[in-house]
C-alpha cells in the first residue's frame, strides 16, 4: 500500500485553495472549472502540495507521527486518487506508446489528462484511437495543409494525401507549408517533406489525382477518417460523392473543411452516417434555405484570384476543424447533430446554425 501511495502526485491542471477559518480545502479543476471540497486538516493539504517535491519525506515525517494519522492520510490520498486529483507520478511512462511518440506529445498527453478528468487509462484509450487512425486528406491547400500539420501535432500517424496540384507562386503566399523552394513540386510531395520535418515517424502515402464524378474511390477503402479540403472541383460536389461512398462502405466518417474561397472563415462539418446529416441532407437543406437567394452571373468572368483572405482566417478554420475531430475521439457521443458555422471577422463572433438529418434523404434515412 505504501509504495502505491508514495508514487502519487498532484495533477498539473489543479489549483489548491485552503480556508483556514473553516478548515477545508477546495481543489479547482482548471479544465472543467469543477471543484472538490473536503474538510481536512491543513497539514494534510500541505503534504499533498508537496508530493512531488524533494522535501516531501521530511515533511511527511514531521507531520505524520501516529499510525492513526498515517492511516487517515492514506485514506485521504486514496479518496483524492479516486477523484482524479492525484495521479501516478510517472503516468506518462505507463502509457503504451513509443518513447519518441511520448516525448513529442508530452504536453498533449497532459492536456488530454486534464480534459478527460479521469485516470491515465482513459488518456491511453483516447490516444490509442488517434494513434491507430487512418486518415485521408483530399486537397492540400491552405486549410488542408495546416489541418494535416495540426493532426500530426496531435499524434495522428497514418495518412494518405490526395491532390492533383503543382505549387505556383500564388500558392506560396497563400499557404503555410509551401515556400519559394517548393515551386514546381507536387503539393503532396512538398507536404510529405514538410511533415517529416515536424515528425519523421508519420506514415504518408500519396495519390496524385483529382476527384471527379467517375473517380474510383477504392484507394480510400483503408481509411476511416476522410477529410475533404479540395477547392476544385467544387467542394459541394466532391463532398456528396465522398458522403455517399462512406455511407456505402460503413465505419467511416467524413470531415468537410471550411475555409475555401468565397467562404474563408467557414468552419466545416463532421459527417457521421446515421448520426449527423449527410452531404445530401446538407445540400437539400441549403437548396431550400437559399431558394430566394440566388446571385446572378457575375460580370467578371475569371474569378480565380479575386477573393480576399488572411492567413489568420485559414488557420482559424483549420484549427476549428482539428478541435472538432479531437472532440470526436474524446467522446463520440458529442456528435448526434449537424450544423455549420462561420467566424465573423468584424465582431469575432461565431455564427452557427443547426441542420437536421433529412428524414427523406434517400442515402442516409435508413441508417441508425
Amino acid at each position: 500500500m505504501n509504495d502505491f501511495y508514495n508514487n502519487l502526485k498532484l495533477r498539473d491542471g489543479i489549483d489548491i485553495y485552503y480556508n483556514d477559518e473553516e478548515s477545508f480545502v477546495t481543489f479547482v479543476f482548471l479544465a472543467s472549472r469543477k471543484r472538490l471540497k473536503v474538510k481536512v486538516i491543513h497539514y494534510f493539504v500541505l503534504l499533498i502540495s508537496k508530493l512531488d517535491n524533494d522535501d516531501y519525506l521530511d515533511c511527511f515525517n514531521k507531520y505524520i507521527v501516529t499510525e492513526e494519522n498515517k492511516l487517515k492520510f492514506f485514506i485521504f490520498l486514496k479518496y483524492l486518487y479516486k477523484n482524479n486529483v492525484l495521479i501516478e507520478k510517472e503516468w506518462i511512462d505507463l502509457l503504451k506508446f513509443d518513447k519518441e511518440y511520448k516525448l513529442f506529445l508530452d504536453r498533449h498527453f497532459k492536456y488530454l489528462l486534464d480534459i478527460t478528468a479521469n485516470g491515465y487509462k482513459e488518456v491511453q484509450s483516447v490516444q490509442q484511437k488517434i494513434h491507430d487512425a487512418n486518415v485521408a486528406i483530399i486537397g492540400l491547400g491552405a486549410v488542408g495543409g495546416v489541418l494535416l500539420q495540426e493532426l500530426v501535432m496531435m499524434g495522428f500517424k497514418n495518412f494518405i494525401l490526395v491532390d492533383h496540384g503543382i505549387i505556383d507562386a500564388q500558392d506560396v503566399s497563400r499557404n503555410f507549408i509551401f515556400t519559394q523552394k517548393n515551386i514546381g513540386k507536387r503539393k503532396i510531395d512538398a507536404c510529405e517533406e514538410y511533415i517529416h520535418t515536424i515528425n519523421p515517424f508519420v506514415n504518408i502515402k500519396k495519390h496524385f489525382v483529382s476527384i471527379n464524378t467517375d473517380t474510383n474511390l477504392n484507394f480510400l477503402d483503408n481509411f476511416e477518417l476522410i477529410i475533404n479540403s479540395a477547392n476544385r472541383p467544387y467542394i459541394g460536389y466532391t463532398s456528396i460523392k465522398l458522403s455517399r461512398y462512406i455511407i456505402e462502405k460503413k465505419n467511416k466518417m467524413l470531415f468537410v473543411c471550411g475555409g475555401f474561397d468565397a467562404h474563408l472563415a467557414s468552419l466545416g462539418e463532421l459527417i457521421i452516417p446515421g448520426k449527423t446529416p449527410c452531404a445530401d441532407c446538407y445540400t437539400n437543406y441549403f437548396s431550400t434555405a437559399l431558394k430566394d437567394w440566388k446571385p446572378i452571373k457575375h460580370p467578371v468572368e475569371n474569378r480565380e484570384n479575386v477573393f480576399g483572405g488572411l492567413a489568420s482566417l485559414n488557420l482559424f478554420s483549420a484549427s476549428f476543424g482539428a478541435m472538432k475531430i479531437l472532440k470526436y475521439y474524446l467522446n463520440e457521443e458529442l456528435y448526434n447533430f449537424g450544423g455549420r458555422g462561420e467566424f465573423l471577422f468584424d465582431s469575432y463572433q461565431i455564427d452557427k446554425f443547426n441542420v437536421n438529418k433529412d428524414p427523406n434523404c434517400q442515402y442516409c434515412k435508413n441508417l441508425r
Binding site: 477546495t26 492536456y111 501535432m153 477573393f307 483572405g309 488557420l315 462561420e342
Partner: protein
C-alpha cells in the same frame, strides 16, 4: 479624385462581391467579410449595375445609355465607398499581385483607390513580439504571411522537443534559440523581412524601455505572448513601458484547456488600459467563495497544451494587428473574450476606460456639480450593495452612510476632476476596500453618463 478622372474609369463590380436581386431591392454580398449591403434601386440604376463589367468608361456608359450624369456620379460614389466596385485597372494590378488575397480583403473595408496605401502602411508596421512560445511563434508567421516586413522578437529560450506539438518549429530547430528559428521561418516567407533578435528574459520594464527606445515609435505595436512568471506580471511590464511611450499593445490571450482566451487591444489614452481592466476584473471576482481561501503555491507545472488552441488564440492577435495598421477599427478594444470548445460559444466581457486610472486617466473635470450629483444618486440605485436615502445620502452594505456633503468634499479634494481620485485616495475611513471600489466605480459610471448628457 476629380469628376473628370472618375468619368474616365472603367468600373467593374469587385469579383468577391455577389449580386443578388430581390423583388424590391438589390443585395450586394461582400463574401470576404460576409457583409451585405441592400439598396433600393430604380430601373435606371438596375440597368447601370448590370453594365459594370469593366469594358466601358463611365462617360461612355452615360452617353450610350443616356443616364443622368449627376445621379450616376452620386451612385458611383456610393458604390465606391461601400467597396462594391473598383476600376478595371486596379483589378488588373491585383490579378497577379503576390499579395492579392490581402489586398482583396482590405478592399472590403476601403475604397479601391485607398487600398494600396493601407497595405503599404501594413507592410511597414513594426511588430515587437515578446515571447515566441506556442502563441508568439504563430503570430509572427501569420503577420509575415500578411505582408508585414519589420519584426523585433524577444525570447531567451531554445527550442525543445516538447515544443513541437504546438509551436511552428521542426526537428532541425531543436537547440536553436527560438529567435533564430523564427527569424529563419520569416525570411523564408518573405526575403525582404528584417528582424531584430533579443535573446533576453524580460524581468522588468526597463529592459522593454531600452528595446523600444531603439525603434522609431511610429507604426509600432508591442505584442505580449510571454507568461513568465505569469501573464499578469509580464503584461504589467509591457503596460508600464507602452503606456508611458503611448505605443499600442496587445496582451495576447492564451489558452487554458477547453478555453481559448482572447486578450484586449490597448491604445494608450484612447481605450481601457491594462490597469483599467485589472481593476475591473479584481472588482468582479470578489463574489467568488474562494475569496476566503488562500491559494497554495505550486511548483512549476507544465499544463497541457495543444496546437489548435494555441493557433486559434494567435489568430485573434493577428486580426487585431492587421486591423490596427489598415485603419479598420479593432474589435478587442475595451474587452476580453474566451471561446469554449465544448459548446463552441464565444463570450466577451466589456470594460471601461477608467477615468480614475492611475496610469491613463486624463482630465475629467466636472463643471456642473449639481448635475453630476443628480446622475450620481440615480446611478447609485443600480448598484446592488448600495441603498439610496433620498437625495442626500447613500448607504453601503446597510451599514455605512455616505452623506452628500461628504461626496461634495471628496469632489473638492479632487478639484472637481475625478481623474484625481487615486491621488487624493478618497478615503472614508469607514469604507471597506470593497466599498471603496464600489464608490470609485460609481464615480466613473456617473462621469460617463454626465459627459454624454
Amino acid at each position: 479624385m476629380s469628376i473628370l478622372q472618375k468619368l474616365e474609369i472603367r468600373y467593374v463590380i469587385r469579383g468577391s462581391v455577389s449580386i443578388i436581386p430581390h423583388d424590391k431591392y438589390i443585395e450586394f454580398f461582400k463574401s470576404n467579410t460576409r457583409v451585405s449591403k441592400k439598396i433600393f434601386v430604380n430601373n435606371e440604376l438596375k440597368k447601370f449595375i448590370s453594365l459594370l463589367d469593366g469594358k466601358f468608361t463611365l462617360r461612355e456608359l452615360i452617353d450610350i445609355h443616356m443616364f443622368n450624369e449627376k445621379f450616376i456620379l452620386n451612385f458611383v460614389e456610393f458604390l465606391e465607398s461601400n467597396c462594391i466596385i473598383q476600376s478595371i485597372d486596379f483589378s488588373n494590378i491585383l490579378e497577379n499581385h503576390p499579395w492579392n488575397h490581402v489586398l482583396n480583403f482590405i478592399g472590403d473595408y476601403h475604397p479601391f483607390y485607398e487600398v494600396m496605401t493601407k497595405f503599404n502602411k501594413l507592410q511597414n508596421a513594426r511588430i515587437v513580439i515578446i515571447g515566441l512560445g506556442a502563441v508568439g511563434s504563430w503570430i509572427a508567421i501569420q503577420l509575415a504571411k500578411s505582408g508585414i516586413k519589420n519584426f523585433v522578437v524577444i525570447d531567451n529560450d531554445k527550442v525543445e522537443e516538447s515544443n513541437l506539438n504546438r509551436s511552428c518549429f521542426s526537428y532541425k530547430d531543436i537547440s536553436k534559440y527560438k529567435t533564430d528559428a523564427v527569424a529563419e521561418l520569416l525570411v523564408n516567407i518573405n526575403s525582404s523581412i528584417t528582424i531584430q533578435k533579443y535573446n533576453l528574459s524580460i524581468t522588468n520594464t526597463e529592459q522593454i524601455n531600452q528595446i523600444l527606445d531603439k525603434i522609431p515609435s511610429t507604426n509600432l505595436i508591442v505584442i505580449n505572448c510571454a507568461d513568465y512568471p505569469n501573464v499578469d506580471v509580464m503584461a504589467g511590464f509591457v503596460h508600464t513601458s507602452c503606456i508611458k511611450k503611448q505605443i499600442p499593445y496587445i496582451i495576447s490571450g492564451g489558452y487554458n484547456l477547453h478555453l481559448t482566451l482572447i486578450g484586449p487591444t490597448i491604445i494608450p489614452f484612447k481605450s481601457a488600459c491594462f490597469k483599467c481592466i485589472q481593476k475591473q476584473l479584481n472588482y468582479n471576482d470578489q463574489i467568488d467563495d474562494l475569496i476566503k481561501s488562500k491559494k497554495f503555491e505550486q511548483s512549476q507545472r507544465n499544463i497541457g497544451n495543444i496546437a489548435p488552441l494555441a493557433i486559434i488564440s494567435s489568430t485573434f492577435t493577428v486580426n487585431e494587428t492587421i486591423k490596427l495598421f489598415t485603419d479598420i477599427s479593432p474589435t478587442m478594444i475595451n474587452r476580453r473574450g474566451s471561446i469554449n470548445f465544448f459548446n463552441e460559444e464565444v463570450s466577451y466581457q466589456d470594460f471601461l476606460k477608467m477615468p480614475t486610472c492611475e496610469d491613463c486617466s486624463e482630465d475629467c473635470s466636472i463643471d456642473n456639480i449639481d448635475k453630476f450629483l443628480e446622475i450620481f444618486f440615480n446611478e447609485s440605485e443600480t448598484v446592488k450593495s448600495l441603498k439610496r436615502i433620498d437625495n442626500n445620502s447613500i448607504v453601503f452594505d446597510n451599514s455605512v452612510l455616505l452623506l452628500k456633503k461628504e461626496i461634495i468634499q471628496d469632489l473638492c479634494n479632487m478639484n472637481n476632476d475625478i481623474s484625481n481620485f487615486n491621488k487624493i485616495k478618497c478615503t472614508n475611513k469607514d469604507l471597506s476596500l470593497q466599498n471603496q471600489q464600489t464608490y470609485e466605480f460609481l464615480m466613473c459610471d456617473s462621469f460617463y453618463k454626465y459627459t454624454k448628457a
